[in-house]
Structures are given as structure tokens and as C-alpha cells.
Amino acid sequence: MSAATQHAAPAGPTGTRLKGSLFRAELLRFRSRRFIQVLLGLSVLGWLGAIGIGLVLFDHPTDADYAAAQREYDLAIVGEEEWREQCTADAEQSGQPVVDVCGPPLAVEDFLQVQPFDLASAAEAGAMGFAAAAAVLAFLVGATWIGAEWSTRSIVALLFWVPDRLAVMAAKIGVLALAAAGIGAVAQAAWLVMAWVLDSAAGSGRELPDGFWGELLAAQGRAVLLTVLVALIGFGLANLTRNTGAALGIAFVYFAILEGALGAFLGLAAQRWSLTVNTVALVVPGGTRIYDYSADYTVEPPSYLVTNLHGGLVVSAYVAVIVGVGVWLFARRDLH
């Protein structure tokens, strides 16, 4: 620091009120975080890999493929017809729709080893898959975003500059929500790009049903919301435990153990409020129906439809509690 001795006292801003932007600073911090950059980079590589795998898996079947499928169909249909007759009789006797009980009848296309990409049937499943991937990524990003701050305690240093703890938390949460929305939107856009590539290279050419795009975009919109909410859950858990690893551990224990136990011991009532069920219900078009297989039933177990709205509200409530408690503690606790 020898040069230090040759300089005059600081001639920085004095007397005038400094106008900073905590949000801009946090946005800059988010963009600069190397681990987040690595996670996003790996996700892009995974996406490119998925496109490559899709291009290998999907193709237009040749006459030889159809001939091979026909041979397999002919072998399978003998036993299938016998079973189907019995299944149809049972279904009609119980008054259930045959398709619901026995499924659609076999077709030659079911035995094709090489299948074209069918956008109409794959779009929703793909959107859900990308939503799940984006949610996992967002959870990691959310947890490491605040977990690393606690690990280095740079969040404490920030309070020497902005002593308003709620403002600091609000800026961090705001940046994360914005970034998670971006991640969710980019993930859904990535799925559309991937679907377009696969459809262009090996599409079935089947006409899309009415309302296809409206339903898909609505599901994708809900997927973006899910990404934001899951990111905030990751943030909230890491903020409560002040540790990224602990947040991941809690998530694992909850999903792998606790929810299973809840489902097994508490039945339908508990499942209605479980995070997994409501997460799925939020994004799947029309919500999801849960069944209580532990109840006594003859034809169909008791069920409950968890709608998109129900799912969104319950997941939001989880977020509010997890994040809210962490913020409240941060605002009140002594910091060292």
C-alpha cells in the first residue's frame, strides 16, 4: 500500500445525497455469480443434448418399419382380442366406459420401432417436462443465490451500505423472481424451439386439434409461475437455514420421505395440501385428480380434483410462509 501514502484524502461525493440502486446492484450480482452461470450453461448443454437425442429417436417410418410392425401386431392381436372381449364385457356390466377401463384398441402404429414426432400429443408432456427441469434449476438457483450470501456473509456487509434489511431482502427476492421468470419463460421457449426442430425433421404431419395453442400457452404460462414459486421456496429454505446444502437436504427429505409418509398415513385429506400434488396441479391442464386407495371401494376409489387455481394458491401459501418467516427473522435477528 505504498502508493496510498502519496494520495490525498478521498475526494469522493460529499454533502450531496447518494442515489444508488440496490435492485440494479443485486441484478449485477446475480449476473456475475459464477455458479449460477455454470448452472445455466449446463442447462443449455442439456437442452442441446435433448434435441440431439430427439433427432435420433424420431424419424419417418419406412415401408420396412411398417412391415415389421405389422408382423408384431399380428402376433399380439390374438391374445389381445380375447382379453379385450372379456374386458369389454366387464366394463359394460359395471357401467363404465370401455375406453376408460380397457384403453384404446391396439393399432399397427403402436408396434413401430421408429416413430415420427407428433406435436399434438407431445406438446403438453414436453412443456411439463421442461417445467419440471426449469423448476429444479430454479430451486438450485434460488437456494444458492441467498445461501452463498450467508456463506460469505456478504449480505451483512451490504447492510453497511443499505441498513434497511427489508429493502435488502426485497431486492434479492425481486431479482430472483425476475430471473426465475426468465428461466421459466426461456425453458418453455426452448421446448417450443425443440418441438419445431423435431417437427421439421421428423414430424408426423398430423393436424393440430382446435384450441391446441391456447391450451399449451396457458400451461406454459403456469409453468413459468411454477418456476418462480419453486425458486422462492429454494431461496426461503436457504435463507432460513443460512446454508445452500441444508436447503437441498430439507427438500430431499420432504419430497423423498415426508410426502410419502403423509400420503400413506393421512390419505386424501393430507394429499390435497401436499406440495408435490399442488405443484403438479398448478401446471397440468385441468389440474390433477388424486385418489384415496386406502379407502374401501368397489369400482373406483374416492377422488378429489385439485384444480390449477387450488394448486397455485397452495404453492403460493407455502412460499409465503417459508419466505416470510425467513425475512422476518432476518429483519429481527442480530447479525454477526
Partner: protein, 307 residues
């Protein structure tokens, strides 16, 4: 106008399962504007806690205690006063994966400090050439210097440095000392330095507050604190020390021989009386020096600690 004022502030830590620990016990501390003020005390005396309480990181116990920073009540008006306060508390806290310059840029953006100021501060602490290296690759001394640069970014009116020499090599310590002294005497900055290096405080500070068990046990200009803790001894040099010692003893003084043929007069309240007594008996003083203890001795005497 005091730069820092704490009146009757207490802080009790309550660890789970442990006994409450009173880190600050009705602490009164005043730091005047300008100059360099040292905060001294043994481990656990409340130095860092008092800084944390002032900066809003730790809540004081409820009660009538009051605090002011730059003449404004805190924590009520901390938001308004913080832009005039730069702080380095204990270890520098930065993102390890980011460069030194980027870490400063994040803080500067949050506070609205112009980018040019970042370069000025990096230059001040001689870190410009390594500013683009990642923080985690810095040596302890470089990290400390970056922490000081961050504290200086706002060109603060009050600069709070908690153990600023930690990890620095001797040249770095000297530079920090000079920087602190220069800032403290630039006519606008007050520097509050907490340090366990007593010699450093003695060389660097104009005034000092000594804490023990969460209370202020001494405060004031360094010279005054030293003399208050002094023994009142006076060392007298003269041609015939043995005869002079006899004269002084006859006059009621407690004397003992000192090295180099001098006489040590114990507990002498006024030096003028000594020279008068000696002159009346034909002993003319060549040198008379009041023996002042160094800050370490004073500190140990005041806090009751033993080396």
C-alpha cells in the same frame, strides 16, 4: 458535535442453553468530530459489539440508552446517516468468486457512488493492479486492503475500522497507519479504530476509549489517559545524583536511584517544587522528565488485566 455518542447502552446475548452474556453494560462513549479515536479493550470487552450496535447489526437491549452517529439518532435515522459512514468490521466480507473491482462495483452501484471513485480507492490501498483477480485468490492483507477500500468508497465523514491491521505485513501496517492518520486530520473525517495493538493505537490515535467488561473505564486524549494512569514519577538528571537524592529525601520526597546516574522521584505532583528545593541547596537540574507509562501499561493498569 460528537461523531459518535453512546449513552447508557446495554447489550445482552442470550445463547440457547447458556448463561446470558452482558457484552455492553450501560456503556457511555463519546467520539468527538475529527481526528483518530482508538477503541481499546481486552477480548470480550465490547469493542466489536459496540460497533455492531452503532451500525444496526445488533439490537441493543430495550431501555433508556441512546445512540447518535454524526449527530443523528440511531438506529431510528441510520438509513439517512449511513451514507456518511464507512465501515470495516472484523474480516472483510465479499463474494469470493468475484474480482475485487466487481465487489466494489456492487457496493458502489447500491449506494450510487460514481465508478471513478472505485479506481481512486483501489489506488489508495494499492490494489489496482490486482483488482481484476478473484477475491478468493487474495492474500489476507489484500483482502484487508480491499475492505478498507470499500469503507472509503463513500468518502465517509465517519470511518469505522475494526482491527484494520489484521493480516497486513509490517509495510502494510505502516501504510494503514499513515492513511488513517491522514484521513483523521483531513478536516472532515473522523476515524474510529478498534485495535488490540496498543502501540499502534498510541502512534495513530489522538484520543482513546478503553472498555472493560462492556463499560468505558477510561476516555480522553491519549496523553491524558496515559498521565491519569501514570505513577507521577519524575526522573531528574543532575551532576551529583547521590547528594541531590539526599536533599530531596530530607525535603520529604520518596526517591530512588535511576539508571545512568539519575534520580527517580516518586509520586511528585509538581515538578517546579523539585527544581526549587534542589536549587536552594545548590543542585542545578540538567534534565527533568515526567515518567509517562506507555499505553500498554496504562491499559493493563486501567482494565486490571495482567500481561
Amino acid at each position: 458535535m460528537p461523531a459518535v455518542e453512546m449513552v447508557g447502552v446495554s447489550k445482552t446475548y442470550r445463547a440457547k442453553g447458556g448463561r446470558p452474556f452482558r457484552a455492553l453494560d450501560d456503556l457511555h462513549m463519546t467520539v468527538g468530530s475529527g481526528g483518530v479515536h482508538g477503541l481499546l479493550g481486552p477480548n470480550g470487552s465490547g469493542k466489536t459489539t459496540s460497533i455492531r450496535v452503532l451500525l444496526g447489526l445488533v439490537r441493543p437491549d430495550p431501555g433508556p440508552g441512546q445512540m447518535r452517529l454524526l449527530d443523528r439518532p440511531v438506529p431510528a435515522e441510520l438509513r439517512g446517516v449511513i451514507e456518511g459512514v464507512g465501515a470495516l468490521v472484523e474480516t472483510p466480507l465479499f463474494s469470493p468468486g468475484l474480482s475485487g473491482r466487481m465487489n466494489l462495483r456492487l457496493l458502489a452501484t447500491a449506494a450510487g457512488v460514481p465508478r471513478a471513485r472505485i479506481e481512486e480507492c483501489l489506488e489508495l490501498v494499492d490494489l489496482r493492479e490486482r483488482a481484476d483477480d478473484r477475491f478468493k485468490g487474495y492474500s489476507l492483507g489484500m483482502k484487508q486492503r480491499l475492505g478498507i477500500a470499500a469503507a472509503l468508497l463513500k468518502a465517509p465523514r465517519l470511518l469505522v475500522l475494526d482491527e484494520p491491521s489484521n493480516g497486513l505485513d509490517p509495510a502494510g501496517i505502516r501504510d494503514v497507519r499513515e492513511l488513517v492518520r491522514r484521513l483523521g486530520h483531513d478536516g472532515r473525517t473522523t476515524v474510529l479504530v478498534s485495535s488490540h495493538l496498543l502501540a499502534e493505537v498510541q502512534q495513530m490515535c489522538d484520543s482513546v476509549t478503553i472498555l472493560a467488561r462492556g463499560r468505558q473505564v477510561a476516555s480522553g486524549p491519549v496523553d491524558q489517559v496515559l498521565s491519569a494512569a501514570g505513577t507521577g514519577d519524575v526522573r531528574v538528571a543532575l551532576p551529583d545524583p547521590a547528594a541531590a537524592a539526599a536533599v530531596l529525601a530530607a525535603a520529604g520526597y520518596s526517591v530512588s536511584p535511576a539508571p545512568d546516574g539519575q534520580v527517580l522521584v516518586h509520586g511528585a505532583p509538581a515538578t517546579g517544587a523539585i527544581t526549587r528545593v534542589l536549587a536552594e541547596h545548590g543542585h542545578y537540574v540538567e534534565e527533568l522528565v515526567r515518567v509517562t507509562p506507555d499505553l500498554e501499561s496504562a491499559f493493563l493498569a486501567i482494565t486490571g488485566e495482567r500481561a
